[in-house]
């Protein structure tokens, strides 16, 4: 064992001259190359600290002739670091040393290292010099060299695609797919995948025979090789259901691999192949097989758990039978990191059904007493969403919410008010009995969203709340200082109050006061316009105004809270990848990334075909991710304000920028604005047959919400 600090002392800021002298001295009387090695170590240490060692170029290069692998490696590192900035010298060195001697060395490690080093230096002369040795390496007798060469082709393609095509390296890569060594096969697959991702002309398409052979070769591959091969299988389009089933049958066994990435990539391929199957029994069997390995991922570290959870969330939306009975696995531990907790919460809500609603609610109530405020808020919100989603559980949910309100913790209370408003909407006439309890807590509310929700409740149920005039009057006290969201709701609530209690002078005074403020004192055009509209309505015909303002509202449900089927199918092709973490198609946020889409074939499942999304022929890059999307109401997904669009436009207009909904520290919240949300968080929406509901209108046997 080396003594502590023995190497660490190399990390002193070295002087170029000193090193040069050391190297020169090392040329004589350095039988064991120890002097040279020590000097080079110091130089490399300095490179890693970011000190410029490039003036030593000629001296260091001299060491290339030293027959020591360790020294060669350090010189290669030096070449890679400074090659680009010293084109003239490199052009002299490379052909002389690497191409002439190292590429023909007896030692396969040195042969491989030589081509690798050259492929790292993107200078035309170097790349040209690489062509011949690379061709030889692709046919080298040693698999280590062949597998290194395969990756080098992809690198070369990145720097000079024309050169690669001219030298027909692609064909040679294709030949390597039949190599006897499976690591070489998997590296060739990886290289071809990378090239087809970057090229417009070349795209990897596998037929059944090749796909099958690759799957057979997988058994002997390293975990990384297995991942490359599995990933490449998405380039295979099954032409018959049998093909898909046979392949799936061979892949299922990979679910038992110890490497979590192998497991998740296998699941991605299985989900993909399931689109091309029609035998329900097989599909069910595969779904059953997928659950346990997903659960096993949760025994890993929090990072892996997080990725797994985000993916599980997608998978259970498309294949709800997976993990159907495993909601308990997703219960949060107090010591879980917050990002794991939030991801678990989302899944718990998804998996909640009548049968397990009680357990889930009890858990959510538990979380509502924890320390972390964001988590508590999400938990309370989930209780509300659960009440809306699972009708038989709504009584229990209301009970839980009332108990939480009794705890008098301000942010819990505010969140509870917000969700109760939605519950009122969902089950009209069922829970109005709790109105007095809500009204007792008005004073605590200080967040715009909660306040607006409470005001909506007062306005909507003005006829049932005895002192509604008084309550509203109190709230109006600070009208001019309120945020636009609260102002809008106050305006509408006052109008409702007046419509209900047109005989009350106090109500009349109130509405007058508000309309005057809205139209004369406020700069917000939205508020002003609405004020004028109400005013005229009331002036022309109070009866009509009543009909409009108190029109029957469409019931809300959480039906629309899941992703559209076609989009889901598309995202699932990216299972495990960044896209699945952020729930966006990659072309919208990654440079050079391409969307994937299911490809039609005779075997494609009817349900998948119906929602098939095809990619545009000419690939158009997604919008620059730093530019926020135009603020159209439909792309403002996280706002619960969208959830109460009364027919008369009530408090739902999200036009004002001042009222961001409070969703702080949601791990994906900041992405929402960056990417222009395509994935809607599940806020309850009015039930409409909008275009976004294609997938649910038709019979969908595999979507069980």
């Amino acid at each position: 064992m080396s003594k502590a600090g023995e190497d660490a002392k190399f990390f002193q800021r070295g002087k170029i001259e000193e090193f040069r002298k050391e190297l020169q001295e090392a040329e004589t009387k350095d039988k064991k190359f120890i002097k040279r090695k020590t000097a080079l170590k110091k130089i490399v240490a300095n490179i890693t600290m970011g000190n410029d060692m490039s003036p030593l170029f000629p001296d260091v290069v001299q060491c290339l002739v030293t027959p020591s692998l360790e020294i060669k490696k350090m010189v290669y590192l030096f070449l890679v670091s400074y090659g680009r900035s010293r084109p003239n010298q490199v052009e002299y060195v490379i052909p002389a040393f690497l191409e002439a001697s190292d590429c023909h060395d007896r030692n396969p490690l040195i042969r491989a290292l030589a081509i690798r080093t050259m492929s790292y230096i993107p200078l035309q002369a170097v790349l040209e010099a690489l062509v011949d040795p690379l061709r030889a390496s692709l046919r080298d007798k040693d698999p280590y060299v062949r597998k290194t060469a395969a990756i080098c082709v992809a690198k070369l393609f990145f720097h000079d695609a024309v050169l690669v095509e001219r030298e027909s390296f692609i064909d040679m890569l294709r030949d390597l797919l039949a190599d006897a060594n499976s690591t070489v096969v998997s590296n060739a697959v990886a290289a071809l995948m990378e090239i087809s991702e970057r090229s417009d002309k070349i795209s990897l398409k596998l037929n059944f025979t090749v796909a099958n052979k690759l799957v057979m070769a997988m058994g002997e591959c390293s975990e990384w090789g297995q991942i490359y091969i599995l990933d490449s299988l998405l380039s295979f389009v099954p032409q018959t259901c049998q093909e898909a089933e046979q392949l799936a049958d061979r892949i299922v066994i990979r679910l038992q691999h110890a490497n979590s990435a192998v497991v998740l990539t296998s699941i991605k391929v299985l989900l993909f192949l399931m689109n091309y199957m029609d035998n329900k029994k097989v599909i069910e069997f595969l779904c059953r097989k997928m659950g346990p390995p997903l659960v096993t991922l949760l025994s890993s570290g929090p990072e892996v758990q997080y990725v797994a959870l985000r993916n599980i969330l997608l998978i259970i939306q498309r294949r709800p039978t997976v993990l159907r009975n495993d909601v308990k696995v997703f219960f949060c531990k107090y010591n879980d990191p917050i990002y794991v907790k939030l991801a678990k919460l989302e899944i718990m809500y998804r998996l909640a059904r009548e049968e397990n609603a009680k357990e889930v609610l009890a858990e959510l109530q538990e979380y509502a007493t924890e320390v972390d405020i964001d988590f508590v808020r999400k938990a309370v919100r989930s209780i509300g969403r659960l009440a809306i989603k699972v009708e038989p559980a709504s009584d229990m949910a209301i009970q839980v919410l009332l108990e939480l309100i009794d705890n008098k913790v301000s942010y819990v209370l505010q969140e509870a008010v917000i969700v109760i408003k939605d519950i009122f909407r969902r089950y009209p006439g069922k829970y109005e009995g709790i109105l007095p309890k809500l009204c007792q807590n008005i004073d605590v509310l200080d967040e715009p969203e909660a306040k607006a929700a409470m005001i909506w409740v007062i306005g909507q149920y003005a006829f049932r709340i005895d002192n509604s005039e008084e309550l509203l009057d109190d709230l109006l006290y600070s009208f001019l200082e309120e945020s636009a969201e609260v102002q809008l709701s106050l305006l509408t609530a006052s109008v409702k109050l007046f419509v209900y209690k047109s005989n009350s002078t106090r109500a009349k005074d109130l509405v007058h006061k508000v309309l005057k403020w809205a139209t004369e004192e406020v700069d917000n055009p939205d508020l002003r316009d609405r004020g004028f509209m109400y005013w005229r309505l009331l002036a022309i015909s109070p009866a009509t105004a009543g009909e409009i303002v108190l029109a029957e509202k469409p019931p809300i449900s959480t039906d629309t809270d899941r992703m559209e089927r076609g989009a889901l199918d598309q995202l699932l092709l990216h299972t495990g990848t960044l896209a699945s973490i952020y729930h966006k198609n990659p072309e919208t946020f990654i440079r050079n990334a391409r969307g994937k889409a299911l490809v039609d074939s005779p075997a494609l499942n009817e349900n998948s075909r119906r929602v098939l999304i095809s990619l545009p022929d000419a690939y158009m890059p997604g919008p620059a991710p730093n530019i926020p999307p135009p603020p159209t109401p439909s792309t403002k997904p996280r706002s619960t304000r969208d959830t109460s669009p009364d027919s008369a436009g009530d408090v739902s207009n999200p036009a004002s920028p001042a009222v961001g909904p409070p969703v702080p520290h949601d791990p994906y919240a900041n992405l929402e604005s960056v990417f222009g949300g395509a994935y809607d968080a599940d806020v309850p929406r009015p039930m409409t047959d909008g275009p976004g509901r294609r997938g649910t209108v038709v019979d969908d046997e595999d979507l069980l919400f």
């Binding site: 190497d7 660490a8 490399v44 490696k73 531990k333 107090y334």
Partner: protein
């Protein structure tokens, strides 16, 4: 599927190792800053492990993992599977551990040249390359061995390190191994993970098990391991050396082991009564019980905890932890029945340790703490961890281990160890 590079930061957030990046030098710096910024903003250190990084050359993501006071960063700019990245980081950490014994900023600084050599081998242009330790040791000499070679035989590093790399027909096993004493030992380690509600009922519990092995066998032995009760194993995952077909056929493990330490299999233990319930979960009897009474008052609170062992044998140790809230100032407790307590003013965690815990014994911790908060918001769960040896929740039993293909006598051994981490809500 490529990783842009690997960066290792020390505990202050300064880079100590940085692999070669194809892009501009600003790119890795951008990621280092992004991670450091995010960590600075989050006091608990719970930063989204896949951090979104936006830069002048476009968006990218940074996957990062903390390990032994170090932080491993892998920037990715393509459509990559983050699990692939985390799996790679984990593999690299395992390799460093194997090479340097312990993993720390000091051991990495000391051996930076070896770390760089390793990086060269394990990752090529973002593709993980050679990560099998057996193969790696052939190409990059571990520090101890390297020193020995240089001092004893002069510079034969070249011939020694190369020989015939990858000459072994089995990727995970070196060719030509020779031991005087041939032995293979197995550790069956099971960990219980559970949540217990206020009323003492178990909300959820899972037992994760793994079989760790340490093999020192000559030549190419072919092993066959059978269990008397393989039905207790569910959701198994295996080291690549295990022949999966054989397992599917008769639930026996047939394999040619790697040399040295490795994890043979991982599994989940499902108790037999699980089949009766709809859920795949059923509760396993917990080896300890913890009764708590917590009273929070203005500026503090009192605790009264009783831990009872339900085991027929002694436990090596048990620890109970509780977060006393961000305003916690001091604590004063008394233990009875053996054990000790301490309060860490930095993490604000009260820790009660009992070691050993005699069979069926009872222990208490009573006392109070003070806090600057008017209503102290303390952790809503007590976390208890313990270790029992020898014990196994599943009762998994190795029936036989047959060695074929080699003539020598093999020493074999199996040890059982059980641990647990239970959250008791109060």
């Amino acid at each position: 599927m490529t990783i842009d590079g690997l960066i290792i930061l020390d505990h202050t957030g300064r880079p100590i190792i940085q692999s070669n990046f194809a892009s501009s030098p600003a790119y890795p710096l951008l990621h280092i800053d992004a991670v450091n910024d995010a960590l600075a903003k989050s006091p608990a250190g719970a930063v989204d492990p896949v951090l979104y990084v936006s830069g002048p050359s476009g968006p990218s993501a940074c996957c990062h993992v903390a390990c032994n006071g170090l932080r491993f960063l892998c920037p990715v700019s393509g459509e990559v599977d983050p699990l692939f990245v985390f799996a790679f980081i984990q593999t690299f950490v395992d390799i460093l551990r194997d090479y340097f014994g312990d993993l720390s900023a000091a051991s990495i600084r000391e051996n930076f040249d070896i770390v760089y050599q390793l990086l060269e081998e394990v990752i090529d242009d973002g593709y993980p390359l050679t990560t099998e330790l057996n193969a790696l040791r052939d190409i990059v000499l571990p520090p101890t061995f390297l020193k020995k070679v240089i001092s004893v035989a002069g510079i034969t590093g070249l011939s020694k390190a190369t020989g015939h790399p990858f000459s072994s027909p089995i990727p995970w096993r070196k060719a030509g191994l020779r031991y005087n004493n041939n032995e293979i030992k197995f550790d069956v380690i099971e960990d219980l993970d559970a949540i217990v509600n206020k009323n003492g009922s178990v909300v959820t519990s899972t037992v994760w098990g793994k079989v760790q092995a340490r093999s020192h066998l000559s030549g190419v032995p072919d092993l066959l391991m059978t269990f008397t009760n393989p039905q207790v194993l569910t959701d198994c995952s295996f080291h690549p050396c295990v022949r999966l077909q054989r397992w599917t056929r008769d639930k026996s493990l047939s394999f040619v082991p790697p040399d040295g330490a490795f994890v043979l299999m991982e599994y989940r233990y499902t108790p037999p009564n699980a089949a009766l319930t709809a859920s795949s979960q059923a509760n396993i009897p917990l080896p300890i019980a913890l009764k708590s009474s917590v009273t929070l008052t203005e500026g503090g609170g009192t605790l009264d905890l009783t831990l009872t062992s339900r085991m027929g044998i002694a436990m090596q140790s048990a620890t109970v932890e509780l977060f006393l809230g961000s305003g916690a100032q001091s604590a004063n407790f008394m233990v009875s029945g053996g054990g000790s307590w301490n309060f860490d003013p930095k993490t604000l965690i009260l820790r009660w340790t009992i070691s050993p815990v005699p069979s069926s014994s009872s222990h208490t911790l009573r006392g109070s703490f003070t806090s600057s908060e008017t209503v102290p918001r303390i952790g809503s769960a007590l976390k208890a961890t313990y270790e029992i040896q020898p014990h196994s929740y599943s009762g998994l039993k190795v029936d036989q281990l047959k060695v074929s293909g080699e003539q020598y006598k093999t020493y074999k051994g199996v040890r059982l160890r059980a641990g647990g981490s239970i959250e008791f809500r109060w």
